[in-house]
Each structure stands twice: as structure tokens, then as C-alpha cells.
Amino acid sequence: MVSLAMLPLAACQREQRSLRLDPPIEAALDDVRTMANGIGGAPPKVYVALGRPYENNAYDLNEGKRLYDWFGCTGCHAHGGGNTGPAFLDGWWQYGSDPVSIFVSIRDGRPAGMPAFGRYVTTEEIWQLTGYVQTIGAYSSKTAAPSRNDEMQSRPSENRAPATLGALQPPSR
């Protein structure tokens, strides 16, 4: 019964659309603390206090998908299959699969070609991208995840993850 009662609340937050983030919250969301090697770490307190919105909010995940195209992520990573950049679909993460690692990868870049996007996109947009990129390589599907694009089909849609079965083989490169 309790879980049934909680269901609408969960759905509630899942469907919320915050079209403009409060500036103090956005500033606080930038405050991630990583381990010394830049992989893993603690998310900002406000991120947890908000209920980890960028991982389970349908609108933010969808915005992430839009930004993924708009900021040219497809140029190197394609639609998750990888090209000059590593693939996401295989579920193999060189720099960690947790949100903080992905956030830092996008904001600060990584060695061997990943540029730092912190200069071009806002913190909220980085978080939206983080949530989306994590969905691509997820091991189980999220009902809040976006669905296919109106494009040539290159992969199963995100809400039907896991996109690959028996992934977990390290990439050959």
C-alpha cells in the first residue's frame, strides 16, 4: 500500500519540467568533488537533496538527448555506437559510469580527445547530458528514458535498454 501511495509522488517528480533553474541551485550543482584520479566521487549536496533529478526526470533526459545532437556528441560517439570516440552502448565505461564521473568527463574533458564542454554549455545542460549519456549505456531500462529519434534507426531506443545483450566485453581498441 505504501509503495502504491508513493507511486504518484515518484511519477510526479519524474514528469516535472523546470524550464529555468534557480541561479543559486545551478551554481551549487557545479560543486562536484571527485577522487584524485578524476573518476568517481561525491555529487553536490543539492543534487541529492533534489532527488537526483537528472537520472530519472523524463524531461531532463529528453533535453539531454536533444543537446547530445546539438552539441555534436554524435560526431565522435555516433548514436552511442562510437566512432573516433568510445562507444556507450557496450556498457563499458573507461572513466566510470556514475553521474559524477560522467559530469566531470563532459565539463572538464578527458585525455585522448574528449574536449572540455564546461565553457560552452551551462551546468544544468551538462547534468542533462550526463543523465542521457548514462541512459545509453544503462544495464536496465528506465521508463522515463526518451524513445527513438525521427531519424534512421541506428540502435534500439533508450527506453528499451539494455541496448546490447551480454555487453561487458572490453572494447577491442
Partner: protein, 637 residues
């Protein structure tokens, strides 16, 4: 309800009036208690529920309309905000079309058609019960979604790609599509029931040329539903498949077609307008006949106009799509057909005017609503002919001119007759009269409030205000007219509040209604108010179009029906000569349980396609129990 003390073949001829009434009451009654309420198959109880539920949705949708008007009352208003505004206008439109207008018209059909054709229950009464529960579930789905901030935000037409997988984030569009599935399911069920009731259960002697016009209009409406609704069910199902499973029906890059959605939607969407309008036409004909005190002028042209409207309704859907880019021939064809539909509607208007002209009209509240309808609907019809022409439509497309037009034809063309019908049939349904003095106030407030609210929208549209915008800049100079519209909406709202007040108060303290308070000619007035559970203790036999005017003192009846099971007469299609005695199904809880199982399946399938597989098992179980054979013959000829 077989009882041992009655011979298996006992007939009603052997019983006196009082004993027969008691016997039939126990045979057809709905048991008290919650189980009885959930398992009833009485078309009057279900029809009443339908009407009340639909009017609750009208009230809720009206609240949303007021919220919209507050938001638009002045430029740069911050009452709702863009996201909530999108949800509010979408739910307002979807609610009014799918949860109010269509169901309330069907509801009147469910209540009145069996009474008007002189039978004891609607055909397929358990399907009728099922359809109500499904409708209720669909309505709750939509409103619960809005309350949870996940209401659809894609307009009531849900065009792809906005509603498609790429741009329709979250489950909002799925809620809309599934709500469509619910309401179409219930509408199709009711349509089938009404067609069979009208074709096979008419009182002996009610040949095709003696069918009351309201029944004709419900028959044509039902055929429209049967032919139009499958298109939208295909559309909503393929939309969900695109969104959930990742199919490519509406993906141009993979060979799908975005425009396919618009064709499927409007192939349903335009007949939908007539599904709402034609029953209203039937109501107007009933009211005009009764209050003009003479047979309607032009019965045959009126029936033919219903059919002409019904057929033409399927040939003009493309006029909603004039600006998507069509070949010239297509534009010309659909312009011509759109204008042609004004002809049958014009014929009807002239028939009513002639009836009133030649009769001795008594201007009671229902007839006042008809007068309000005629004026408002003619204005809406004129703007309809205007937007049927491609150049003008290209100019005013997606502006408030269109908003004004369709509110004129929907409120003026359907809601005014509907409210007239409520005043007209309220005594039959409730057993008490509504207040005549309040009724006149309601008509006046609604008519004035409506025209002051919606007429300025024509001008707003012509000076360029687009539809669906959540706000506008002060430099557009739309503020003054919008404020005027919003203030006028208050008058309209007061009229509706007064109507609801009158309807609720009269149910408790209205004057007790006699059998036939208006001196009307059709069969529903031949039984008590409200009717007994069996409708007619003896099935009437009809020898003319206006039975209660032709045989005012005692109606001929048919006898010889069995009294140890629910039995009614099956008659032939054209001249309604008796063919068989058929048993009518008893109360059953299984339609309710089947509706619950269907609801669980349909709602879960928003989240996982596997829900269709596993959810079909409980549905199959409930359907098997519902149709469990009884081992008795169903009809005896």
C-alpha cells in the same frame, strides 16, 4: 430470477395490472447495495450515471477554461506559466471533446432510445455497463495525470512529431493516447448497442417512417462512430507503438509519414464534430415538435438531412489541413464538400423555423434554448463556410478566429440544445421539474455571456492573435479585447453555475413531475416519471408517428410475454412486425471486473509492452465468466 412458484411458461396475460407490475419490478430490479450498483445492467441507471459523470467533466473543463481566461486576461501574465498552460488547454480540449461532448450525447441515447422505441432495455446491456466503467476509467486517467503534473501538453489533436517519441518527453502523450483508447472503446460499445436497439427492438408498428427524429439522429451518430472511431484507435495505438516500442509509423526517415497522423486524426476528427452535433439536432427536433404543438414540418427531409450530413462528414476532413500543402484539385474538392454540408444543415434550420412558424409555440425553457441554438449556430455556420475557403483559411488558420468558430458551433450547436434537453427530459429522468424562472435566467446568462465571450475572438483572430499561446506582449494591443473576453466569461460561468444549482436543487425540492408534463407525443412519456425498471409494463404498439397525440387516453399494447425471465420483443427492421421474444441479460458483476482488468492492461501498457501480454490474461478470465453459457435458449419465435 427463476422462481419455482411460477409456471415455466407463465405469460403476462394471466395477471392483473398490479400483480404484473410487482412481478416485473422484482424481475427487472437492480438490487440495493454496492454489489447491486456495480452489477446493474439497467440502461436508465447506466445512462443516468453517464450523464452525471459527463456533466462533472463539463464542470471541471469549465474551471480549466476560466484558468485559461485568467491567464490571457492581460499581456505577460504569470498566472499559469507556459508548461502548465499547455497542459491546461490540452486537457480542456480533450476533456470537452472526449469526456464530455461525445459521452453526454451517447448517454442521452442510452437513456432515451430504449424508452423512445418502446422496449425494456438496451441491446447488449452488459456491454453497456462495461462501456460506462471504461469511460469512467479513461476520464479519471486524464484528470489524475493533470493533477500529477503529467497532463498531456500536445493539444487535443496531438500532432506528431510534437507528440512523437522524439519531442513528446515523458508519459504525457501516452496518457492522452490511452485516454483516447478508453473513450473510443466505450463509444464503439454504445454505438453498437444503439444500432441494434433501433433496428431490432422497436415497438410493434414503429415502422421506419414512424421513428422519432431523436432516435434517427442517434442511429446516424452511431454509424458515424462505428466508421470514424477505428481511425483514431489505429492512430492512438500506432502512436503508442512509436513511442514505447520504437516502431516507425510516423518517422519519415524510416519510411513513415508525419502527415499520416493528420489524415487518420481528422478522418475521425471531422465526423467527431457531427457525432456531437447530430444528437443535438435530434434533441432540437424533439423539443420543437413538443413546444410548437404540431407534427414537425418535413420529417423526411430532416431524416435525409441527417444521413446527408453523416455521409458528407466523411468527405471533408482535409479542410483541417489546408495549410500543409495540397494539390489544387484536393483543395477545391474539400472546399466544395465543406461548403456542401451547409445545405443539409440549412434544410434542418428551415424545417424547425417552419414548424415554429406554423405551430403555437410555447416558449418554455427548452424552446428558449432552441432559439439560442438557432441564432448561435447560424453564426457559427457562417464562419464555417468562411473558413471552408482556402484563401481565407490560410489567413486565419491557427488564430483565434478558428477558436471562435468552433466554440460557436460546439457550444451553440451542441451545448445549448443539450441544456435544453436537460430541462426537457429532466422530469422524465428525475421525476421532478426544474425551475422555470431560474431556467429563463440560465438561458439569458448563457446566451449573452457566450456571445460576449466568443464573438470578440473573431476580431482577435483577424488582427493576428494565434491559438495556443500562453501569453502575448503588450505591444500587440490584444490586451483590451482579451480582458473584455475574460470578463464576459464570468457571465458565462455564472450561467453554468446557476444551471448546476438548479439541476441539483430540483432533484430534491422540485415540483413532482407527472407522466407527461409537456404534452409530448413520443413513447418515453407514456410511462411513469421516472420509469419503472422494466420501462413499460406492457410493450406499446404504435400506429402513427406521434403515438401519444394520436391515442391520448390509452395506448395499444402487446401482451403474451413471459414473466419468469426478462423478456422483450424483437421486431423486423423496416416495418417493425414482431419476430421473436428474446431474453434480456440479467445483472452481472463481470462487466465491471472486465473493465477493471482492461484498465489495468491499458494503463500498464504505457510503461511496458509486456503488459499487453500479461494483462490480457485477467481480461480473458473476466470475459469468459461474463459470457459463461447459461444452457437456456435465448429467443423464441
Amino acid at each position: 430470477m427463476s422462481t419455482s412458484d411460477i409456471a415455466p411458461d407463465a405469460r403476462d396475460t394471466a395477471l392483473q395490472e398490479k400483480a404484473l407490475a410487482e412481478r416485473l419490478a422484482s424481475l427487472w430490479a437492480t438490487p440495493r447495495g454496492i454489489l447491486g450498483a456495480l452489477s446493474t445492467v439497467d440502461h436508465k441507471i447506466i445512462g443516468r450515471r453517464y450523464i452525471v459523470t459527463a456533466f462533472i467533466f463539463l464542470l471541471l473543463g469549465g474551471v480549466l477554461a476560466l484558468a485559461i481566461r485568467i491567464q490571457l486576461a492581460r499581456p505577460e501574465n504569470r498566472f499559469l506559466g507556459a508548461d502548465i498552460y499547455n497542459q491546461v488547454f490540452t486537457v480542456h480540449g480533450s476533456n470537452m471533446m472526449f469526456l464530455f461532448a461525445v459521452p453526454v450525447m451517447e448517454a442521452f441515447g442510452v437513456y432515451l432510445v430504449p424508452l423512445m422505441v418502446g422496449t425494456r432495455n438496451i441491446a447488449f446491456p452488459r456491454l453497456n455497463a462495461f462501456s460506462y466503467w471504461i469511460y469512467l476509467a479513461g476520464g479519471i486517467t486524464l484528470w489524475a495525470a493533470l493533477a500529477l503534473d503529467m497532463g498531456p501538453d500536445i493539444g487535443w489533436f496531438a500532432y506528431v512529431p510534437l507528440s512523437g517519441p522524439q519531442f513528446g518527453a515523458g508519459k504525457r502523450a501516452d496518457i492522452w493516447a490511452q485516454m483516447i483508447t478508453f473513450t473510443e472503446l466505450s463509444a464503439l460499445a454504445v454505438a453498437v448497442e444503439i444500432v441494434v436497439t433501433v433496428f431490432k427492438q422497436r415497438a410493434p408498428g414503429m415502422s421506419l417512417d414512424r421513428i422519432p427524429l431523436f432516435v434517427w439522429s442517434m442511429l446516424v451518430t452511431s454509424f458515424l462512430i462505428i466508421m470514424a472511431m477505428p481511425a483514431i484507435m489505429v492512430a492512438s495505438t500506432t502512436l503508442i507503438l512509436d513511442r514505447l516500442v520504437g516502431t516507425h509509423f510516423y518517422n519519415p526517415a524510416e519510411g513513415g509519414d508525419v502527415l499520416l497522423w493528420q489524415h487518420l486524426f481528422w478522418f475521425f476528427g471531422h465526423p467527431e464534430v457531427y457525432i456531437i452535433f447530430l444528437p443535438a439536432v435530434g434533441m432540437v427536433s424533439s423539443i420543437v415538435t413538443t413546444f410548437a404543438r404540431r407534427p414537425i414540418v418535413g420529417y423526411l427531409p430532416l431524416v435525409l438531412a441527417l444521413f446527408a450530413t453523416g455521409i458528407l462528414a466523411f468527405g471533408l476532413w482535409v479542410h483541417h489541413m489546408f495549410v500543409v500543402g495540397l494539390p489544387r484539385v484536393g483543395e477545391s474538392f474539400f472546399t466544395a464538400s465543406s461548403m456542401a454540408i451547409a445545405v443539409p444543415n440549412g434544410i434542418q434550420i428551415f424545417c424547425w423555423l417552419a414548424t415554429l412558424w406554423d405551430g403555437r409555440p410555447q416558449f418554455r425553457t427548452p424552446l428558449l434554448f432552441v432559439v439560442a441554438f438557432i441564432i448561435t449556430f447560424v453564426i457559427g455556420g457562417l464562419t464555417g463556410v468562411m473558413v471552408a475557403s482556402v484563401p481565407l483559411d490560410t489567413q486565419v488558420h491557427d488564430t483565434y478566429f478558428v477558436v471562435a468558430h468552433f466554440h460557436y458551433v460546439l457550444i451553440g450547436g451542441a451545448v445549448f440544445p443539450l441544456l435544453g434537453a436537460v430541462y426537457y427530459w429532466y422530469p422524465k429522468i428525475v421525476g421532478r421539474m426544474m425551475n422555470e424562472r431560474l431556467g429563463r435566467w440560465v438561458v439569458a446568462l448563457l446566451f449573452v455571456g457566450f456571445n460576449l465571450t466568443f464573438f470578440p475572438m473573431h476580431i482577435l483572430g483577424l488582427i493576428g492573435m494565434p491559438r495556443r499561446v500562453y501569453t502575448y506582449g503588450p505591444e500587440m494591443h490584444w490586451g483590451g479585447l482579451n480582458l473584455f473576453v475574460s470578463l464576459s466569461a464570468v457571465i458565462l460561468a455564472v450561467g453554468f453555475v446557476l444551471f448546476f444549482y438548479d439541476a441539483i436543487r430540483s432533484a430534491f425540492s422540485g415540483e413532482i413531475a407527472p407522466e407527461n408534463p409537456w404534452g409530448a407525443p413520443t413513447l418515453e412519456w407514456a410511462t411513469s416519471s421516472p420509469p419503472p425498471s422494466c420501462n413499460f409494463e406492457r410493450i406499446p404498439v404504435v400506429s402513427g408517428s406521434y403515438p401519444l397525440w394520436e391515442e391520448p387516453h390509452a395506448l395499444s399494447v402487446a401482451t403474451g410475454l413471459r414473466i419468469n425471465r426478462r423478456e422483450l420483443l424483437v421486431t423486423s427492421i423496416s416495418d417493425a412486425s414482431p419476430q421473436a421474444r428474446e431474453s434480456s441479460p440479467r445483472n452481472s458483476i463481470w462487466p465491471f471486473l472486465a473493465a477493471i482488468a482492461s484498465t489495468v492492461m491499458l494503463l500498464s501498457s504505457i510503461f511496458s509492452p509486456w503488459a499487453v501480454v500479461w494483462g490480457s490474461v485477467p481480461i480473458a478470465v473476466t470475459l469468459i465468466m461474463w459470457f459463461w453459457p447459461k444452457g437456456t435458449p435465448e429467443d423464441i419465435s
